[in-house]
Structure formats: structure tokens, C-alpha cells
Amino acid sequence: MIAQLTKSERQSALVILLALAVVGLAMAAGGRHDPFGVHGAIVLLAAILGIFGVISGYYAPEPSPDRLDSYYDSPTKFGIIVAMVWAVIGMAVGDWVAWLLAYPEWTFDAAWASFGRLRPVHTSGVIFGFGGNALIATSFYVMQRTTRARLPDQLTPWFVLFGYNLFCIIAATGYLMGVTQSREYAEPEWYADIWLVIVWVTYFILYMRVLARRQEPHIYVANWYYLAFILVVAMLHIVNNLAMPISWGSAKSYSLFSGVQDAMTQWWYGHNAVAFFLTSGFLGMMYYYMPKRAGRPIYSYRMSIISFWGITFFYMWAGSHHLHYTALPQWVQSLGMTFSVMLLVPSWVSAGNALMTLNGAWHKVRDDATLRFMMVAAVFYGLTTFEGSFMAIRPVNSLSHYTDWTIGHVHAGALGWVAMITFGAIYASVPWLWKRESMYSAKLVEVHFWLALAGTVIYVFAMWNSGIIQGLMWRTYNESGTLAYSFVDSLVAMHPYYIARAVGGAFFLLGAIIGFYNILMTIRSAPSVETQNAADFPVTGPAAAPALQPGE
């Protein structure tokens, strides 16, 4: 990997890592009586490992100018593997907390193993670790292909990837030590937030630099979605995390907001995290990989533009549907509800556009599990957005809020849409990236597909059932006008569904593990010389032959 960097890039890498080491050391010293110090030590350790890495390759010969004849894909390869590692970790912890809900006594009496600490490890692990790495990796791939411009340098993409994963590690280890801002999906504390801003702005600038070098006059729509993801997440992250640390040596901080403003800021963030992290970025993925894999252009390019702007405008205003029946002014709730219902239109336009793209290629969908992942993702995207728009209607929300229905909705989106489209995109790109004819085993892709689908269906149906039962039990009155059931009664009624969900989750996790194995075996198999899929081969010239770079 270091061999791919030019001399000056190696020097810059060392400077950055030394600076990071100094910061880590200062944190470790300043926060020695606090989890902050542990994080300092982790930062220091990461920087030292990085320094050793750079030094060990420092005197390797410089990369040849021929490298400019092909796209720079090593960061994408790395990102995909890391995404799969996080997928396995995040989903394993997800299944663990699922069992904890069925058997709450399984915490070994250890603070780190309590539900409250493990749950954010799950949510951050899957959303940021798995989803985020997959988005960054595929965005590097897509931005280069659609602009026909190589990444402008070799160092920045690595900075983004390593920096981002350092953030994820700080986040996950922090939760286990009890470090949290208590803002859902924004739990990491102030120092991690500042670091993420640096990484994220670098990512944004990198994307703009690639676009500035583009050879296509029009920017392909997938890039718009990726860019909206990057830009809006930056905005959300900065505003929602405005906080004052209690000292330079402590992990604890206090938000600048309070009361109902605080709640609104958090859910403006939270819902747009759904919109721009879990939706927009993955739509970008879909608009590239689905047409590519199906071998057909997107059904209606115009529809993709209109739904882009529809999603971007409407989502911004929908966050208040998380705060129905609260101290939030009624009109703000109504505003959020209205925009949520309107959101159905651009959402279904996107889902419909995807399915219409496949119309005429159903035989491919039948034979090709990779394409089937993408198709099922589009179906679940349509389903989840319909459900979401419905749940945002105030009286419906009075039934669904606080219940497992929300959890069912979340995972219809997370498993059915986010994870499925990601697996589809990964299975499509792994052979292209590593110049293999196909995946190591098409059968295992098929097995993964059915495990994932079965797991999702079991999970979602279990939660729909338990959610509705829970909601109804909480609002059933007896003749004397008091509640018919106690909370514990409803908890007992949930028990079988929690077991079912945990089993469904285990299917889904098993699928991901099989997928990871298949990917590793594909990488280990011999590269194909005569490849059927010319998608990733430079057309002419021995200079452009797919030479493996040292360190790959």
C-alpha cells in the first residue's frame, strides 16, 4: 500500500501521523483519570502503528507513472473488506442485544455488557461501520468511473478511510466504557465529533476535486446522491453536535441546546441521518450498480432527477414526526407529518424507477442472485417508505410510537433496503475490482440471498406482530376505565416474538458471514486472464494490463 504513494505523499502521511500521535499523547496525559485518556491511548497506538507502516514501505520504489492509466481502486478494495468486517461485528452485536431483550439476565453482571452499552455498538457498527465504509468505498469506485477521472492523489482516500474507521473505533469503545452524549446515532462525544468533521470535510473536498477533473459534461445522477449524502451529513453532524466539554481532559460535554429545541435538533438530525445516510447514499449506489449489473440504462433519467430533488427538499422538514404528542408546537408536528406523507411520492418514484429498469431483464433477476439482492432492496425501499409515511400520521403514530413496530420499520429499511443493496453492490464489484471472472461461488451468493431474505422477513413480521400487540395492550381499558394490562403483561406477551426476531437475525448474520467468506475466497482465487466481464479491463496496451500493485 505504501508503495503506491509517491515520496511526497509518504512524507505527508508521516507528518499527519506524527501530529495525530502528539494529539493522542496529549489526550492520554490530560485525561488519565477519565475514559478520555483511554481514547488518547487508542489514538496514539493507531498513529504509531501507522508510522511503522509508512516507515516499513518508505524506501520502496516510487509508483510508476503508468498508474495513471487505471483507476485507483485499492482504497475501494480496502473499504469493502472493512465494511464486511463491521457487518459481521455489528450484526453479531445486534443479534446479541436481540437475545438480551428475550433473556435480560444474560449480561454477566458486567457494565460493558449491559443492553444500554451494547445497543449503540450495534447501531453505530452497522450504520457507520458497515454502511459508511460501503458508501465511501463504492463512492470512490463510482465517482471515478462516471467522471472518467482518476482520484487526484493517493493519500487523501486513505486518510478518509483510516480516519473514518478511527472514528468508528473510538465510538464503539467509548460506548463500552459508558461514554455517550445520549443522542441517538450521534452518541460519540465532542472530540470524536471534531475528528469526524476533519475527515468528512476532506472526503467532500476529494469528491469535488474528482468532479472538477471530470471528462463527462454532465454529472451522472448517482454522484448527486452521494454528494447529498456527504454534504448533508456534514451539516447535520456539525449542528447536532454543538456542545461544550466540561474540560479539556474529560470526555463529557453538554449540548448547546436544551429542552424542546434540543429534541427538535436531535430529530432533525436523526431523521435526516435516515434520509441522507441510509437513503440518499444507498440510492446513489443503486443508480450505478443496478443499471450496470442489469446491462440496461436507468428506466427514466428524468425521474431520477426529480426524485432526487423531491427527496432532498422534503426530508429536511420531516424530522418532527419523531416528536408527535410532545411539547413541540402542534404546527411543527403537522408540518413534519405533511412532508412525511408527501415524501412517499419521490420515494416511490425512485423505487418504481429501479423496478422498471429491471423490467425486461427478469430472466437475469431469476438467474443472478446479485441482481436479485438489488431488486429485493428496491422492493423493501418501497415498502419501508410507504410504512414510514403511514407511521408519520399522528393518530397512527400514537399506536406505533414506543413499540416494536418502529423497530420493525427500522429493520425493514435496514436489512431489506440498506443491507441488501450493499450486498448486491459488493457482489457486483468484487469480481470487477479483483479482476476475477465471477465470485468464488455463485451457490454461496444464492445461499446468502435466501438467508438474508428469510432473516429479514422473520425479523420484520415478528416486530410487526409484537409492535401492534404491544400498542393495543397499552391502550386497552377495562369496564372500570383503568388500563387492562400492566406493562409487565405486555412484556410477557413480547417474549416469543423476541426469540423469533433473534432467530431471524441469526439467519441474517449467518448470511453475512458466508458472504464475507465468499469474498475472501474470491480474492484468493486465481485472477482470470480471459475474463467474460470486460467491465473492468482497460481495452488496449500491455502497459494497462491489470498488474497487481505490491501490497495489494
Partner: protein, 57 residues
């Protein structure tokens, strides 16, 4: 000037409404502008090209 609740409500009910309608119109005009159809078609097709090499000027 202090920002009051009433002011925000007024803003969102007046300006808020019209700027969203305005933005929608701009998007629709852009999307259906005849001269834009060619680049759109080209972009949709171009990603299917198998020429997997960056451009070198």
C-alpha cells in the same frame, strides 16, 4: 430584532411555502428543458460503456 415564535410561524407559512414551490418549478424546468435531454441520455448510457480507463489528456 428578536426572533419570536410568531415571526417564525409567519415566515414558514409565507416565504417557506413559496420558496419550495419556486424550487420545484426550477427543477421541473431544468429536467424537461429540451436541450438537456441529450446529455441526460448520454449520461444514462455512458455508465454501461466497458471502457474502464480514466481519461488522460
Amino acid at each position: 430584532m428578536t426572533i419570536t415564535h410568531d415571526l417564525l410561524v409567519w415566515l414558514s407559512k409565507s416565504f417557506g411555502l413559496f420558496y419550495l414551490i419556486g424550487l420545484s418549478l426550477i427543477v421541473l424546468v431544468y429536467t424537461y428543458w429540451p436541450a438537456n435531454q441529450k446529455p441526460f441520455e448520454h449520461a444514462a448510457q455512458a455508465i454501461l460503456d466497458d471502457d474502464d480507463k480514466p481519461y488522460r489528456g
